[in-house]
């Protein structure tokens, strides 16, 4: 056990830091660019210099770097004010790419992976449906074979970035006469295909990061299938495991250090809140959770660098992180007292609207990629080995399963 860096790791950190600081795009050179344009501009520069998706093989646009080096790069990036890329590329690079690596043929890998690494192609995930949320495999969008093509009809929902994505990963029902999980098949689809229509969904935060995506007689060549017909659930699990690993703790800025700074700058009675023992006890408990998550991710890294796949234990990061961040943002607003409700970045020089924006964003994170309750089920069933609840749809042909509203 050694939490210190090796000489090689330190030298890698210096190399990464030097390249990053020398190549941070200036505001002037990005003037007039939209968020996604900035992301693609920066990602392309990283990719050209070999700093994009560094864990991937060189032939796919990566650097053949190890898991620890990837974390070091992330730590150095976090110290700089860089264009936001994760928001646009996390699904493509973090979920579609590992699925392509495991399930697509060599030609598809060579075609798509380098363009994913460079940010030239943006991908979205077309899994959830109005009738298939926590029970994802209950999805109904159907695909029917027609010659060398499949014809897709149905509706997907909660699709981040569908409106600007080039491709999507898609799970559909190819056989409604067999049991739920057995009738699914996995494809990738060109989002510019005729018959695809996207409609934004407005969230309680005021943003519209998700979409409904409608499929009307959309044709997908059979060559874009990943895995066998009927193997879609197994392929989807590859994607979902990586989703849970990549969503991580989420919640960004509301961390122990920020909350401590707030507690130093506001009063309880006539003294700084940081001197209040109840505040200190809360801060300490959050520090323990934050550190626990950090060192848990370090231990996962050790396992991954020895060849293990990200397992169901990765569900912890999102489960603990999202709840913790919600509580911390809520407590920060309390510390601000009456002014806590103000959600105007210009109103508070030090913190902007960080706590209020987080408070409104976090309910979504507790649901996205598997609700807290589904995460707890995954831990209970897949890590601890507890039995599933009896399922009323087990072994019944999908088209005979009772449906509600």
């Amino acid at each position: 056990m050694d939490f210190e860096e090796t000489a090689a790791e330190t030298s890698f950190r210096e190399e990464a830091r030097n390249w990053l600081t020398a190549n941070v795009p200036s505001e002037a050179e990005m003037a007039g660019m939209s968020g996604i344009e900035r992301a693609q501009y920066w990602q392309k520069r990283k990719s050209d210099a070999g700093w994009a998706c560094i864990r991937w093989a060189k032939e796919f646009g990566g650097r053949d770097a190890n898991a620890i080096e990837n974390v070091i790069l992330g730590q150095e990036e976090a110290k700089l004010d860089l264009p936001e890329t994760g928001y646009y590329f996390a699904i493509g690079q973090g979920m579609a790419a590992p699925t392509l690596m495991s399930w697509a043929d060599k030609a598809a890998q060579e075609r798509f992976l380098p363009r994913l690494a460079s940010g030239e192609d943006v991908w979205c995930q077309l899994f959830s449906e109005p009738a298939g949320g926590s029970d994802l495999a209950a999805l109904r969008t159907k695909a029917e074979r027609d010659g060398d093509d499949w014809v897709i009809n149905g509706q997907k929902i909660w699709t981040s970035g569908a409106h600007y994505s080039d491709f999507g990963i898609l799970v559909v029902r190819t056989d409604p006469t067999v049991a739920k999980h057995a009738g699914l098949t996995y494809f990738y689809v060109d989002m510019k295909s005729p018959g695809i229509e996207t409609k934004p969904i407005r969230q309680i935060s005021g943003d519209a990061r998700f979409n409904e995506v409608y499929f009307t007689d959309v044709r997908i060549p059979d060559s874009q299938r990943m895995g066998n017909v009927g193997q879609g659930w197994q392929v989807a699990l590859t994607t979902l495991m990586n989703e849970r690993a990549s969503i991580g703790s989420g919640g960004g800025g509301v961390k122990f250090d920020v909350l401590k700074k707030l507690a130093e700058s506001v009063n309880i009675g006539d003294r700084p809140a940081i001197e209040d023992s109840a505040v200190r006890a809360k801060l300490a408990s959050w520090y323990v959770e934050e550190a626990g998550l950090k060192y848990t991710s370090f231990r996962t890294l050790s396992a991954i660098s020895k060849g293990a796949n990200p397992g169901p234990e990765n569900s912890i990061g999102k489960l603990v992180g999202a709840r913790k961040t919600q509580d911390m943002a809520s407590f920060a607003i309390d510390l601000l007292e009456q002014q806590g409700i103000v959600r105007d970045a210009a109103f508070d020089e030090q913190f902007g609207a960080l706590f209020q924006d987080t408070y409104m964003a976090i309910p979504g994170l507790r649901i996205a990629g598997g609700t807290d309750e589904i995460m707890a089920n995954i831990i209970a069933e897949r890590v601890l080995g507890l039995p599933q609840e009896p399922r009323s749809d087990k072994g019944i042909p999908f088209n005979e399963v009772p449906t509600g509203n």
């Binding site: 939490f3 200190r280 323990v288 603990v320």
Partner: protein
């Protein structure tokens, strides 16, 4: 960076678990709980033979010269079986105190005896309900003679040697002393505690001989540093107990049927056990960092120790109470073993200071780290 135990350390864990499975079954713990013996002296002899009491003592003082990474592996296993032995008192506290502050002569005299289990050590500093501080200490040494009273000292009635914190007129307001418990000036009165599987006593000093340990007037600083080290070791012991609770709850829930199916298949139970797993996993990760900081004497030790301590205390409390809950009525019976962990979790939660005290230590350490 490498965040795993070595193959040798993992082997030691397997050996320790196998040894304790054979020698520290629930029947051994129950024997002490039921008062058939005051403590598991037979188990202690075997632990000494295994060399565990000698783990971190240097070879020149009769020890094995291993690191604290080996010691935390043993601590976790002792916690897992709620071993009714004075290991924490003698090894994490008395031995560590002498290793850190002892003179060459004190080390030469005491460490070989502690390593060989000929002497059991303990630590006394608390004097009243609520937190004891350097300022509040009443016990006092004058002319080498100690007078005063320590209210609840773990293992005092089976130990031969006690490290005592007493008031000092100089420095930080305290000094540490070594007191031999067979001194005629020492009176030991057993106290009844929440956890009868570990003996505790009130100790009164009526002019007992006391030998200074470390610097006069540096006692409180030394004590804080000692408790930081012990906090990591106890965090591992607490973690072991918490893991045992999860294992017990899981096994019971898998075998217990209600409404025609295993209660482990109900989400109310599954989510409870998932919560235990999450708390244990986070506690383990913090305990890893604490173990590393302890084994390398890293500058981060005070923060790492407090983090590990708070995390393990919270996890063990949660797991031990929810283990009883998962067992339902049977978990509340004397016949079932759930009580071992419910008792022990509370003992270990306060024995070197409560969660509240360690949360405050954590925040102070974080503030110092920021200021540095």
């Amino acid at each position: 960076m490498n965040f795993e135990f070595s193959d040798e350390q993992n082997l030691l864990r397997d050996q320790a678990r196998g040894f304790l499975d054979d020698n520290c079954s629930p029947a051994v713990v129950r024997g002490v709980l039921d008062g058939q013996e005051a403590w598991a002296s037979g188990l202690w002899k075997k632990i000494v033979e295994m060399g565990w009491t000698a783990t971190v003592i240097p070879e020149e003082f009769g020890g094995l010269g291993l690191t604290h990474l080996e010691l935390v592996v043993i601590a976790e296993e002792l916690g897992r079986c709620a071993a009714p032995v004075p290991f924490s008192s003698s090894v994490y506290l008395a031995t560590e105190a002498i290793l850190a502050a002892g003179s060459q002569a004190q080390k030469e005299h005491w460490l070989p005896k502690l390593a060989a289990g000929e002497v059991i050590g303990c630590l006394g500093y608390a004097e009243a309900a609520g937190q004891t501080t350097a300022k509040s200490l009443q016990a006092k040494v004058t002319g080498g003679k100690l007078t005063g009273h320590k209210t609840v000292v773990a293992d005092a009635q089976i130990a031969q040697l006690m490290v005592v914190a007493a008031a000092s007129d100089s420095g930080d307001g305290a000094s540490l002393y070594l007191v031999q418990l067979d001194d005629p000036g020492v009176v030991i009165d057993e106290v009844i505690t929440l956890d009868p599987t570990r003996p505790h006593a009130g100790v009164t000093f009526n002019g007992a001989n006391a030998e200074l340990l470390g610097g006069e007037g540096h006692g409180w600083t030394q004590l804080e540093a000692l408790l930081d080290r012990a906090a990591v070791l106890l965090a591992w012991e607490q973690l072991g107990g918490s893991e045992a609770c999860l294992e017990m709850a899981k096994n019971y829930a898998m075998g217990r049927y209600a409404f025609g199916r295993a209660i482990a298949s109900y989400q109310a139970i599954k989510h409870k056990l998932a919560d235990m797993y999450v708390k244990n996993t986070l506690a383990r990760s913090n305990a890893y960092f604490g173990a590393w900081a302890l084994s390398t004497d890293a500058a981060e030790l005070p923060l790492a120790a407090a983090t590990a301590r708070v995390g393990s205390t919270q996890a063990y409390y949660f797991s031990s109470k929810e283990n009883i809950q998962t067992h339902g009525g049977m978990g509340y019976t004397w016949e079932f073993d759930c009580q071992f962990y419910y008792r022990r979790s509370k003992l270990l939660a306060v024995n070197i200071g409560s969660e509240t005290l360690w949360q405050e230590k954590l925040l102070r350490a974080a503030e110092r780290a920021n200021a540095a």
